[in-house]
Symmetry: C3
Subunit: 139 residues, 3 copies
């Protein structure tokens, strides 16, 4: 049983910017030579999340709109009132999406659907250099 | 440390159909003879998700209604405008629920609450044969 | 490769009470002496969830409000109509948040952002003694 960890830096635009992580994931997995197990993706930080979607501009726009409905930009946030960061909506959105995703690995590949990509959603209110931690565990 | 993987096919009705996976999970775990570790459930595909709930018709109906409020069927979706699939709401719902769940294993059993079942939610707009990948990792 | 499991009991007030689990997590990890791998947090039970947020009263209040918007207390729930528990909203909220979170471990520490804490959200309609299961897997 092996554990491989890699940390990546990803440039984002904030404001629900969705970045496809599937290639990074697959490359990390191939380099690890692990054939069977789990690959785990985590975003250290409280204003971004990770999930899967069919990564085409329509579905991505629809997801962004739904996330904005759950925690709109233009309403009162106690976080902003207290700290003046202006990114109260970013914290709420990220907590609801969650920073963690685990994908099975079989035959040396991530077991994803044909139209299913792993995405980072950056909910912050400015461009960011995001850290993304990938852990592969298996044989 | 062992890794056991099993893939199951599950018939669903789509439209937020919720299927209880707890028995499949428990049987896969027993067959693996793993006593301590983690059991991971993943739905390959971009129009279904996995979570836990008390699997009784009332709570399940309430969950379906809440998911429908987050991404209603009868609104504009860019995914549909672009591809004509008619399942833009399915993609958004699935991305929000997430395709991945990990449950601890202790004494050879999944550590779930008494009233807590693991469910697949199929958000697609038609019946599907769903693939479900279960990975058990432990000793 | 080692597996360490610890179960904790946590007092909560219910009604979206958010409890910071980061110290418990870090202490369990240190005691395990595992340097590299994954730490998994799970809430057995169908009326609580786990996620991450910047644990300060403003952001926590904003998250509670968003969760309440997703499944308000004062609406009809089929679960309540059927069982009279009065906590239909708790079940829906918990299913949407999810009971499971996995955090990477590197250099013997959980890889969290500076302002990112792991929280238990108790969605039930009364104070509870919550069980929380922590599993550390790694080397």
């Amino acid at each position: 049983m092996k554990i491989i960890q890699e940390r990546f830096s990803i440039k984002t635009k904030g404001f629900n910017d969705c970045v496809d992580l599937t290639d990074i994931l697959t490359q990390t997995l191939h380099a690890s030579r692990i054939q069977s197990g789990l690959i785990h993706i985590f975003i250290p930080g409280s204003t971004a999340g990770v999930t899967t979607i069919e990564y085409e501009s329509g579905a991505v726009a629809d997801l962004k709109a739904a996330i904005a409905r759950m925690a709109p930009e233009n309403m009162h946030y106690n976080h902003d009132a207290r700290w003046g960061d202006g990114n109260g909506f970013s914290h709420v959105r990220s907590a609801l999406i969650g920073p963690s995703l685990t994908v099975p690995v079989a035959d040396g590949r991530p077991v994803l659907g044909t139209w299913q990509q792993v995405i980072l959603i950056d909910c912050d209110n400015r461009p960011r250099n995001r850290s993304c931690m990938i852990t592969v565990m298996g044989i």
